[in-house]
């Protein structure tokens, strides 16, 4: 055998709705008009939430906020492929996916107000709260996908992370574990070209992020992440595979159009021309033109959607403000352990005495 090839791999890349609005008819997913409109509305909803959140942050009403502007197709397209009982394991920029999965906008706002209330997971929601440590949450999704399999259930876990996150050893460990245990897990790497200021070429020497899966022995696919139809197509396939114990990594090629977070100023590390280029390639715009051309979306529907979203958001903001008003600081002692240990009992008593003293 002196020298032979013992294994071969190739990375597929998929696009259904091209930038020039041509559509690959073979690959186009069969979604009803209603479903298409839902996808559109979810993208708009998240976009609007992000815009309002940035404004609220600027007014001091929210803390640091990480907008997903430009990444709506990558997230809505994947989350839309989930069933009701499937799990969502987000990073910190998953507004679009969370909204699709059923998280209320007011929870997102509460979280952005620095309230643990916003990280409460309603019973049966099948979600984990935002994960701040980069790359740490895919392991949780692996554990979930493994646990579901162990309990002979069909639910899958989908987890989101960025191009930068793939540099953390945890992400590799997560995919490798998933491969070993046939975890029912879909890994979504949103390659939005930046990890804060750091471009992908400084993050890794690979040609793609999809190929990170090869090291873990799991399937992978790349997709135009600004093409919601393409994203949905590969996600549906991946979710099906995962349901059968074949974990998959999806790399969605997209772009973070806004700042990393509201604390960030992208002009320190990228040209505004680049941003303009990607403005033109905005995923919502592309999909909107497609729907308009197909005659699915008219002005009236657009207005109705806008109105609905504005109303919802207004209500969500009010709700979040109210919950903020009601916030009980002493709660920080109450959820550390199932039962308050003596240490915390004592500390809580001192805390209350002090607060009582203050308000007298």
């Amino acid at each position: 055998m002196p020298e032979e090839t013992v294994a071969q791999f190739h990375i597929r890349s998929v696009q259904v709705l091209a930038e020039d609005e041509t559509v690959d008819d073979e690959l186009v997913p069969d979604l009803s008009d209603d479903e298409l409109l839902t996808v559109y509305e979810q993208m708009k909803r998240s976009r609007r939430l992000d815009e309002r959140a940035i404004a609220l942050q600027r007014r001091g009403e929210l803390g640091t906020y990480a907008p997903a502007i430009g990444q709506e197709a990558a997230q809505v397209g994947t989350a839309f492929a989930l069933a009701d009982d499937d799990w969502l394991v987000p990073s910190f920029r998953e507004q679009p996916a969370l909204l699709v999965h059923g998280t209320e906008p007011d929870a997102i706002l509460q979280y952005a107000k620095g309230m643990e209330e916003g990280a409460e997971i309603p019973d049966g929601d099948g979600a984990l709260p935002p994960a701040i440590p980069v790359g740490s949450q895919p392991l949780h999704a692996t554990g979930i996908g493994w646990g579901e399999a162990l309990q002979d259930r069909e639910n899958v876990a989908i987890t989101y992370f960025g191009d930068g996150a793939t540099s953390e050893g945890d992400v590799y460990e997560a995919m490798n574990f998933a491969g070993v245990y046939d975890a029912q897990t879909v890994f979504v790497c949103q390659n939005n070209r930046y990890a804060i200021s750091t471009g992908t070429e400084k993050q890794t020497n690979t040609e793609t992020f999809a190929q990170k899966a090869i090291a873990a022995g799991i399937d992978c696919v790349q997709v135009d992440g600004n093409d919601v139809l393409g994203v949905y197509r590969v996600a549906r396939e991946a979710v099906e595979k995962a349901r059968n114990g074949e974990p998959v990594l999806i790399e969605a090629l997209t772009y973070r159009r806004s700042m990393h977070t509201t604390s960030d100023d992208p002009s320190a590390y990228r040209e505004s021309e680049e941003e303009s280029e990607w403005e033109a390639r905005d995923p919502i715009l592309r999909f909107q033109r497609y729907l308009e051309n197909r005659g699915v979306l008219d002005e009236e529907t657009k207005e109705a959607i806008t109105e609905r979203i504005e109303e919802e958001l207004a209500a969500a903001i009010e709700e979040a403000n109210e919950r903020r008003e009601e916030l009980d600081p002493a709660d920080m002692f109450r959820h550390v352990y199932e039962d308050l240990p003596p240490e915390l009992e004592e500390q809580l008593a001192a805390f209350e005495a002090e607060k009582g003293g203050e308000s007298q």
């Binding site: 990280a119 440590p133 460990e173 199932e338």
Partner: protein, 322 residues
């Protein structure tokens, strides 16, 4: 019914009993399956529970992190980390997620995970196989930190740890794994957070846990005074009351641990005694601990570790003060 078991057998016995009792329990870690664990603490379990006992890849962040997900689906993960210092590879998952899941979600998601790990010196093991970082773990709110000191204690505390809905770091002293047998009751649960008064005493209170409790009991034998010995068993939450009550009586106290002195758990106990028994103290509280040096390789291990002689000297000094 009860049986005379070694500590490592008590671990196995408990894991088997909990796997039998609760279908949600899953036992996993490096080499815990087919080989039954490097200390044989899981021997045979995979034969009885092939679907709930797993050999894992060599990846501690993976082991700890996957537990968060397993727990979310309703399972009760019982992970083995092969040696305590390799828990450092998963330290971020422990501190950022396992410990905080309950508090950050206001109790809507919990992580009832038990991480068993052999710790401490005394068996002439390789480098980094003999650490005791309990003070670091006890400093992470959300975790419970538990130390058995005998086979029966192992059974009672491990049972409670696995059943606890809070995450537990369960530290098993390797040097006690096979050192003696003891009657171990069949169904036995010791509430976490309750110290054990091993010996009541009038003249001095000595606090020690894990393998240092054995050394302490040896040391005490040679002392002609009424020496009280307390095993806190759980370092967080810490049963301060039992220790304080004893010290109020004795007025003197020594604390023993094998971890380095600075920022070790003895400091915490001294701080609590200072707060709650200040007026009763008749002498400075003595620390008999490891030194502020990395746990040396085994040729110098016995020089590093507190032993009965050093503990005895510490107790005598304290008794003689004033």
């Amino acid at each position: 019914m009860s049986e005379r078991l070694r500590m490592v057998e008590a671990v196995r016995d408990t894991l088997g009993a909990e796997l039998a009792r609760d279908d949600d329990v899953v036992v996993y870690g490096e080499d815990v399956g087919e080989a039954g664990g490097v200390f044989r603490a899981t021997q045979g379990l995979i034969d009885d529970y092939p679907d709930r006992v797993f050999d894992t890849p060599v990846a501690e962040a993976g082991i700890v992190g996957a537990g968060v997900g397993l727990a979310a689906t309703g399972m009760r993960p019982v992970a083995e980390i092969q040696f305590q210092s390799f828990l450092y590879q998963g330290f971020h998952q422990l501190a950022q997620h396992v410990a905080r899941m309950r508090s950050r979600t206001r109790g809507t998601i919990t992580c009832p995970m038990t991480i068993r790990t052999p710790y401490g010196g005394g068996i002439h093991a390789l480098e980094l196989h003999s650490e005791s970082f309990e003070a670091g773990f006890a400093h992470i709110p959300g975790l419970k930190v538990v130390f058995p000191s005998s086979p029966a204690e192992t059974k009672g505390l491990l049972t409670a740890s696995i059943r606890s809905s809070d995450p537990v770091v369960f530290m098993e002293p390797t040097r006690l794994y096979r050192s003696f047998r003891e009657e171990v009751p069949d169904d036995h649960e010791i509430p976490l957070g309750e110290a054990r008064v091993v010996e009541p005493g009038e003249d001095i209170t000595v606090v020690a846990w894990g393998s240092m409790l054995r050394e302490t009991l040896d040391a005490v034998d040679d002392i002609d005074a009424s020496v009280g010995v307390i095993d806190p068993r759980t370092l967080y939450p810490l049963d301060t009351e039992t220790i304080v009550d004893s010290v109020k009586k004795t007025g003197r106290c020594a604390i023993v641990h094998e971890a380095p002195k600075t920022a070790g758990m003895a400091g915490e106990i001294i701080a609590r005694l200072n707060e709650e028994a200040f007026l009763y103290l008749e002498a400075p509280i003595e620390r008999v601990t490891g030194y502020d040096v990395p746990m040396p390789m085994f040729a110098r291990e016995d020089d590093y570790l507190p032993d009965a002689d050093r503990i005895e000297a510490g107790i005598r000094d304290t008794l003689e003060f004033g």
